[in-house]
Amino acid sequence: MNRQQFLEQLEAELSGLAPVERQEALKFYVEYLDEAGPENEAAVLAELGSPQKVAAIIRANLGLSDESAAPHETPKPSLTLNGPDWSRKTEQQAQSGAPGAGSAAYGGQPFPKSKNNSRVLLVLLLVFTSPLWIGILGGLFGALMGLLGGILGIFIGGISAIAGGAIALIFSLFTLVGNPADGMVSMALSMASIAIGVLLTAGCVWLLRRFVPWLVSLVRRAVQAVCGKVGK
């Protein structure tokens, strides 16, 4: 293959690229062969490889389509020197892009991985597992609300016992006048009711005072754990 054939075939291979990209690439290789000089032409053409391979490397590294040829759209590469896997990937791309691409198709990283990928993955994972964790969270929330409701019920029961006991106590005073024995019994019962009510309400208050701060700190820690992970 001579220089003319190489450039013609390269142009044909790059026909999928935007015209400006195609012209830039051809210009580069025209100048490159000029610099090498006619005496080195055969050696340089041999070293460059087939136009198919050269074109595959260009396509793999500069994007396949017209819109990717526009400036300012290339993602900023992450500045890392020690990624072991991408060169293999690019090589595969170059080879799959053209069957003629040789194993020497060492290519640059076209669109280097962003460090944000892990966060995107995390969000995707959260979305895809949402039926699971929404169920779990909902269950936990329901259990907590049930506990709160139970405590509230006992509390109201206690208040009612106090109120009922107090009313019964007032009535027992009237009974005491007509029937002292009955009055004493109903007085004792009313007082017992008041005592039970006081115990229940006090118990609930004690429970709530422990339970609510615990619940608040639990929720706060959960939120911090989730936000902390996502925020990093």
């Binding site: 690439a25 100048e31 610099e35 290339t74 500045l79 690019t90």
Partner: protein
């Protein structure tokens, strides 16, 4: 060379070569190939990508009756080169630590 390191290293080498002196594609290719075992056909996409990333600029000069396109480094390219240099130091230290069992580090 036994170690075929990454595209980022090639970017770093190209930026460093161009930062010392504005030069042309053929020369850059030869310079990179003097230290790295890469095919000649890999350099053009690297140069073009760095140009599109605004790390390199080009200008044309006539030479021996034909055109020669020169590449020169931009402010952004210099910044990226500095980042690569820092990254390389870290990388080099880690590799040395493993390869030489921490000699010189402890």
């Amino acid at each position: 060379m036994a170690f075929n390191t990454g595209a980022a290293l090639m970017d770093a080498l190209v930026l460093s070569i161009v930062s010392q002196e504005s030069t042309y594609g053929y020369k850059i290719t030869q310079d990179v190939r003097s230290v790295m075992d890469v095919s000649e056909s890999t350099l053009y996409p690297v140069l073009r990508r760095l140009q599109r990333d605004e790390c390199l600029e080009t200008y044309d000069r006539e030479f021996a009756g034909r055109n020669r396109r020169y590449y020169s480094i931009t402010e952004k390219g210099n910044e990226r080169l500095e980042t690569y240099r820092r990254e390389w130091k870290v990388y080099e230290e880690k590799i040395n630590h493993v390869l030489f069992g921490g000699i010189g580090n402890e």
